[in-house]
């Protein structure tokens, strides 16, 4: 079974796996590194519990909330389930997301009474109105065919290799992503997401890491800085590298595919 290095990786391929000994003189090609990042996220099942808090541009702090992210990622499927833990207002609200065969990200929002309150929504939907975006959590840019090297960079005093991922296929909500990846730990220290006009939408930065049972390094805390200067902190406070996925975990995805914005039958 592959490591869950991706456990928290749910959030942006932020997880790590085994080192492959890259150093400054022996950097892997961008395509190879992108593939490694993709493989590092593979997991038969993981859970990560996160505490999320945001401070708006006016310095006002929004009510923190907790979510549980369950994921299953392999060559055949990439699925995430995000459930609200607290406060009570989000307790029975969940999101399920998957990467479809054609590379599209499909997101379902649902409540306690499946399938009555199930709704397919835009992949760029923010989780409980925070800066956490479901699309980002599946990190689809590692699948894009065009990966361009951006050279070596330094983020918070740490060396990393810039990779610019670009796509023109279809109408992806985000066509360009620049990630600064630590080739050894396979952690993206910084991920910047741009729109079609190359305007920076948000920057996701790794702040703290942790070593997991598998030996892989995973993100413990990250920050999402929005273009409007809202800053969101995501703190992983608990997790399970070997989460047992049940039939109910992704049941919402198995219901009929209603058109976006319409309630399921």
């Amino acid at each position: 079974m592959r490591f869950i290095a991706s456990a928290v990786l749910a959030l942006l391929a932020t997880l790590a796996g085994q080192s492959y000994g890259a150093d400054g003189s022996d950097l892997p090609s961008p395509a190879a590194l992108a593939e490694t990042m993709m493989l590092a996220r593979y997991s038969a099942g993981f859970e990560a519990r996160m505490r999320i808090s945001s401070v708006g541009p006016d310095g006002k702090q929004s009510t923190p909330f907790k979510v549980a992210v369950v994921g299953q990622i392999d060559s055949q499927r990439e699925r995430l389930a995000i459930s609200g833990i607290s406060p009570p207002s989000i307790r029975d609200h969940s999101y399920a997301a998957e990467r479809t065969a054609d590379g599209r990200i499909r997101v379902i929002e649902y409540g306690a009474r499946l399938p009555a309150d199930l709704l397919e929504i835009e992949p760029t939907t923010r989780v409980f109105d925070s800066a956490l975006v479901v699309w980002d959590m599946l990190a689809p840019w590692w699948h894009w065919p065009k990966q361009i090297s951006g050279g070596v960079d330094h983020v918070d005093g740490r060396d990393c290799q810039n990779i610019r991922s670009v796509t023109n296929a279809g109408t992806p909500p985000i066509p360009e992503v620049v990630s600064c990846v630590d080739a050894k730990t396979r952690l993206p220290w910084r991920t910047q997401l741009f729109d079609r006009q190359h305007i920076l939408l948000r920057t996701i930065s790794t702040r703290r890491t942790m070593r997991m049972e598998s030996g892989a390094v995973a993100v413990r805390r990250l920050t999402i800085a929005d273009a409007d200067r809202t800053v969101t902190d995501v703190d992983v406070y608990s997790g399970d590298e070997h989460y047992a996925i049940s039939a109910a975990t992704f049941a919402a995805l198995d219901y009929a595919h209603p058109a976006a914005g319409q309630a399921a039958p």
Partner: protein, 375 residues
Amino acid sequence: MNLFGFALGNLYRRPARSSLTIAAISLGVASIVALTSIAWGFEASWQRANDARGTDLIVTRIASENAMPSPFLADKLQATLKGYPHVQEVVGLLSEMLSVGDNAPPVFVFGWEYRSYLWQHLRLIDGHLPANDTDADIVLGSLAAELLHKKVGDSVEIEGRQFLIRGIFDSPAVVENGAVVMTLTLAQQITDKPGKVNILNIKLDDHASDSVIDDFKTRVRETLPGYLAITSGELVRKNAVVRISKAMSNATTLIASLVGALVVFNTMLMSINERTREIGLLLALGWQRQTIVKLIVSESVVLSLAGGLAGILIGIAIAGGLEHVELMRGKIEAVFSMPFLIAILGLSVVLGVAGGLYPALKAARMLPSQALRQE
């Protein structure tokens, strides 16, 4: 006046410099005392928690070096271990650091198998233990109750669920006093880890000897790949937090010792430079060079010993103060031992000798004629 009195007199003549030197040494020694006592206390507290529960052996995952080992499915393993010789009980435990309520700092939340031996060492101060396996009832350690400002009958929110506080207990282990305890079933439900535990506690019967424990360990190693049977002491020593805190305390000891020796060295070097004529006069009066060395080394040892004594007192006060800081309460416990404190005083003497030796030798090598010409 004897030599020691003469040395004391020299130190009194420069009170500001002597006080600053003592203060610098005492800060270094205080950091050693505080950090080491907390590192030992952390280890001792976990050890006491396991000893108080009456656990003889712990089965956990091999790679587990976190504060609590990673969770694993317990059912099959538990059944297998129950079949081992001399095994009386195999009890699962699940633990997480979770926030209790909105603004409270995270606390340890322990899930213990309902009616297992783990509950027996708790001394109830108020209320009762959970009445059944699945009711949303919890018990709080006395420190946790104080920190959360809760009493029996109140409710608390953990991971989005409300729990009724059924009892408040006291435990020999500070870790447990600062914790929330619920049944294992409940802990598995709220953390979405059905059937999982962090560790399996093994209680052996009264006939189990050391060789039985060794056989048990070997059997687990050979027949249960991925798992490890260890004593609670071994688990605590493998704990990453214990190892980090010990490494930090060792590093602090090394750095503080070097700084302390340099401070003494600098002070004594300045002192003999200022007293060149005085030392020259003593030599001209017939003092032996050996006596000059003894005088200077005595002064440096007195300085470092005074710094050491003050540092021990400050270190004890710092560690005691940290125990009462709200964020730390129930999580740390300082442990002081007399041999350790004596060793710290010994270290102070070594620092004094090391820092004072070169200045003393330099002073003793002076020629009286040259020293007396010094302005």
